[in-house]
Symmetry: C2
Amino acid sequence: MRVDEKARRTGSEVTLDMSPEEFRQWGHRTIDWLADYLASPESYRVLSQVHPGMVRDALPAAPPSDPEPMEAVFQDLDRIILPGITHWNHPDFYAYFSSTASGPGILGELLTAGFNVNAMLWKTSPAATELEEMVLDWLRQMIGLPEEFRGVVYDTASVSTFHALVAARGSVRDWDVREKGLSGPDAPRLRLYTSVQAHSSVEKAAIAMGLGRQGVSKIVVDDQYRMNPYALEAAIESDRAGGWTPFAVVATVGTTSTTSLDPVPAIADISARHGLWLHVDAAYAGAAAMLPERQDVRAGCDRADSYVVNPHKWMFTPVDFSALYCRRPEALKAAFSLVPAYLSTPEGDTVTNFMDYGIQLGRRFRALKLWMVIRYFGVEGLRARIREHIRLAGLFRSWVRDDPAFDLAAPTPFSTVCFRLKGTDADNRDLLGRINASGKAFLSHTELDGRYTLRFTVGNVRTTEEHVRRAWELIQSLA
Amino acid sequence: MRVDEKARRTGSEVTLDMSPEEFRQWGHRTIDWLADYLASPESYRVLSQVHPGMVRDALPAAPPSDPEPMEAVFQDLDRIILPGITHWNHPDFYAYFSSTASGPGILGELLTAGFNVNAMLWKTSPAATELEEMVLDWLRQMIGLPEEFRGVVYDTASVSTFHALVAARGSVRDWDVREKGLSGPDAPRLRLYTSVQAHSSVEKAAIAMGLGRQGVSKIVVDDQYRMNPYALEAAIESDRAGGWTPFAVVATVGTTSTTSLDPVPAIADISARHGLWLHVDAAYAGAAAMLPERQDVRAGCDRADSYVVNPHKWMFTPVDFSALYCRRPEALKAAFSLVPAYLSTPEGDTVTNFMDYGIQLGRRFRALKLWMVIRYFGVEGLRARIREHIRLAGLFRSWVRDDPAFDLAAPTPFSTVCFRLKGTDADNRDLLGRINASGKAFLSHTELDGRYTLRFTVGNVRTTEEHVRRAWELIQSLA
């Protein structure tokens, strides 16, 4: 580093940022580094093979007092960080819900970081608020929600569901929970309903919002892991007779374990009959609602009070981006709006101030990346990719079905296949360990009917039929 | 667009991502666009001057069916988005808490988007978890918190404070709130304490977690806007006598309106005496705890149970990045951990799985950007910049003091000056409107003792003495 450059950076002369020219230089370097990385994800082992503490031990225990050259940072990126990365960009990442940051999405994030606006108020960047409104309306049209639904972006589906349930809680009649909270001799004992296959975020939301685990009633599922609506209605009626105040139902379109679809139309009937808020968790499978041939994914969702879908799961948008739609966004605002004097604005109700719709005051300009993803691929391009993933999962499923050493463990409504090696839980656990240790594919597991089950999910935009075929051959060879 | 390229992108042939070469091309273009933008922020009006709906009306009402050329996206960036941006990067942004994305921070975000890892579990990218642990320990050392404090990154201070208070709630004895919630005849009526000058996020957290607004007792402040500890203790004792269960105190180091410091040592004494959880909100001013000459910023914070500081506020790190430190992180884990079968891992307690410490399951690899910021500037470089901002605010304060047309409205412990034009609230509102409409500077306001008050805060890494001087001349000329 030149002496004058060091002086500038330590502030003994001036105290500014990296100069625009230096930013340009290192920006190009970073883009080249990433382009090389994205060109050859397969040169890495999918699941990081480092041992606990290896990354930490390679880092200095104390921060540097003086500036370090950017060159040193890039060296450490290769030397320390890369070996500790589990490559979500790898086409052989088949674990959890495989997701990818597409090129246009990454460039959208770069612009977001560069603008660095806090979109808490309309005036703190009108483009951030209005693009968010518009792009979420595009997405609403794509997945077929009715016109009255309004969207808001949060970071994750867990946070979207939390906000939906707090809005639901605030809609309970005859009790001002915002003012009085949940305690006190006259307070209702609130309970919400979801299936035993629902995502853990529903229970986490109930804990955080003060309902406790007892505030969640978990409804049984049928043999295809779908909520049993008769059991739902029976639980509501029994609870009401027992002094509980039922207030919300969470249905899932694409559960985490098997991607099963709860019977939303029947659940919507029951919710309407009992005056309960219906929240639909379509975080993963909502993307498939874009397909005209998959009207089953939309069924009943038009009758929900709130609906969450995550473009960062199966729409090639970098994490984080979760879209929550509410039929009555004013319920969300009534639950969360709290405007201190220092944030009051003269625009009033003529504009949306998204800080009114959630816990977070600070909000990134996240709409840019989804806007770029939709424009780059086009709706038809996105549909084609989701169709292809469903086709690839269907292929994989057929290979499992035809191999006598394996059993299918659940239906495959989307791009996730649940299966088992014939044998014990330990056999399956061992097999998964060998697959993942190979570095050539990364699968995850779940538990179905008390049994250890392997999960294979296709969601990476770089995964081809050849990848899936090789992964299956690997699994067979290690079985 | 070439026909074969369009075929690839619509998926009629294959269904992949933007190619690495196309990513490289558009990545360089994006970097150049941003470098040009960052080289000339002053060519823009700070506060966007668009009218409500202008951005929305310029966008198509429906998403494109077919792919669009990236060139069109860049044209719209210039034509539609830029006019709707309020330029947080502008050196004359003096509103709220002025914050900036420095060059190394932006490049860190670019890498984060490229890796696109979900750092929910250690194994889903060990480097993300271990770099987060290490960089937060660096920051802990920099701001002087004791060794036993462990950090976790959330998006915003509002979410950090919410998590701290849920952990505090879970630490109340003789009531299993996680299991039973807050309702029922035997449930305690919980109350927390904070000053009338505390951030609105404290009350928002109380509402969300089921305490209601009645669950927050707002303690009066002295003539320098600092919590009155005698009033705090009196409120606790009176509430306890009245059947409430006090459980937490939130002290603020750097309030939002005036950046006043609550007397944390006295509040820590009271919290200890009554067995209450002490949370310190140092979201903005915690950065100043890095300065050896500002031990006042650290006083008493070593006795907190939790402490939040936001590198995205005054440490040149792009939004979002909020660091929550807990003395007993196991309290956070006890409140939030919920591990479904599909996320169980064999590593057990030998590693940190950050999903156990919060609502969010999805977590970006945020540590990269702070790591790059600290390494690029060095601790001394960061200190120099914070010192310079405090110096510039001191200069501005002296000019206000020496101008008989203006009054100072509060002390200036950091880089925020509260002041008023002598006259009515309407005069001050008008003056602020004229300043902001000029596009040459952007200030915000607050209310102090019922009076409309102007706020001028220095926090942008590109702000120099010349900028501050010109801004003051502008204010004088418009007064």
